[in-house]
Symmetry: C2
């Protein structure tokens, strides 16, 4: 594991590391913000999953989350959004292949060889973080758009792993929207029965754990009606009596200006569970 960036930020450190991932079979970058409190003892970790086309850089340079992580004494880990490198299958489109891993384990050629982002984020990455950094095993998870789908499905598939889960503008029902239909057909094949294990709305029907769940959604989001459809998550939660805090924010769009405007509230919200 090699540190490739190291920058002072809000009295802590915004670092980026590169390591060889056994799960993905390639070299991966991840970002970690260590708040000032980490110099004095272990701190809990918020995992952040980014959206389509992003790398580990987008969230750390645009969201302004470090201020709040420093305020609440929380580390933030932001991985890349897919396996990387010349050996990794790709597609010319922005919504398939590199930059579009969808936080699942692919079963279809040519994707299955490397695209195992679920296992990377759920298992290999936290094991690495907890072995090498001053952190506790208290974990929360959040993300944006494709990464909001990732946060929701990671939490729903892995009871006991996280204290709380939130999402910004998530793809809540990938089986029912164009982005998800395209990616799932490629990564998982045409049999839609196999898709249900990677779809938050479908997983909610058999939910095993009642984590605190918060979703922030801009009402001015250009992808709201076609790709995101938060009403499907609301209905799925209502059907099983799962408490969902769904905040619809008038005017806000799909951009990092929306994330920046509300990430402070999300970090504070996760902090109450991470420090409990």
């Amino acid at each position: 594991m090699e540190r490739i960036e190291h920058r002072a930020c809000f009295e802590g450190w915004q670092d980026v590391y590169r390591h060889q991932s056994a799960t993905l079979g390639c070299s991966m970058n991840f970002a970690i913000y260590l708040p000032p409190q980490a110099a004095h003892g272990p701190v809990p970790v918020l995992y952040w999953l980014s959206g389509l086309t992003c790398t580990e850089q987008n969230f750390i340079s645009k969201a302004g989350a470090q201020r709040y992580a420093a305020e609440h004494g929380i580390a933030i880990v932001a991985p890349d959004t897919s396996p990387r490198g010349d050996d990794v299958a790709d597609d010319a489109a922005y919504d398939l292949g590199k930059g579009a891993g969808f936080y699942l384990n692919a079963t279809q050629a040519p994707w299955a060889a490397h695209y195992r982002m679920h296992d990377y984020v759920a298992e290999e990455l936290p094991a690495l973080i907890e072995a090498h950094f001053p952190v506790t095993s208290a974990r929360a998870i959040s993300g944006h758009s494709m990464g909001g789908h990732g946060a929701l499905t990671l939490a729903l598939r892995n009871p006991g792993r996280y204290r709380s889960v939130s999402a910004f503008s998530p793809i809540v029902a990938p089986s029912q929207v164009p982005w998800g239909e395209k990616a799932f057909t490629a990564y998982l094949g045409p049999d839609q029965a196999a898709w249900q294990a990677w779809d938050a709305v479908a997983l909610m029907a058999n939910v095993a754990e009642r984590l605190p769940l918060r979703v922030e959604q801009g009402v001015g989001d250009e992808f709201l009606e076609k790709q995101l459809r938060p009403e499907l998550l609301q209905a799925a939660c209502d059907a099983v009596g799962y408490p969902l805090q769904l905040n619809l924010q008038p005017g806000y769009d799909h951009s990092y200006y929306f994330i920046a405007s509300f990430i402070g509230e999300h970090v504070a919200w996760h902090a109450q569970y991470l420090h409990a």
Copy 2:
């Protein structure tokens, strides 16, 4: 004037406009953040000048200043860093030509035709802003690196125009450092007497106004000793008894992670003068 971006951000709006600049003879973009208070009445304006290679985008996407502008009821205007377009002279290097206007009025060919960023920022842009947006004529100015040089020289050359001036990691004495020597030779010619009118340390000797002046400088800045040299500004201020608040911040580098860490303090500091 055409609005090309319009994004909700911290209950205000982060917009980008394009207009034809008479001063520069080309089409220019500028960013303006209008805080929520601007919906109810005019607000003062902080002008932000970015550094080498930047456009109007860098500050608005990376600094996280909107939170503080919303908190204090201040608009922030961020212009591009040079004239733009196919008709505008350029150089292959990152530190000359487009993206490197140095906030001066060039006198040498081929630069003199368009490179008049001083007059654009000091006169045309505020006139445009004050004619078309809900702002007062209370102005402050700040910037980073080349833009820190810009903020200092704009304030020193234009008494009565600003209420306060600050800078992050500024080039305080361009006449004495490689970035400035290269740019000034090209834009102003080899006669160093002509350079003094665009050099904050030289201008300080005949300063006409005692504005509140604050400089933030990272001690871990990779350009500190060769290009920035804040000790020259400290000496020039000491020589004329000009009060300078020079904050040396251990560990911080030249990046936007440094700006993000202290922009809140700068916005609050400017606010006390802008609202006085």
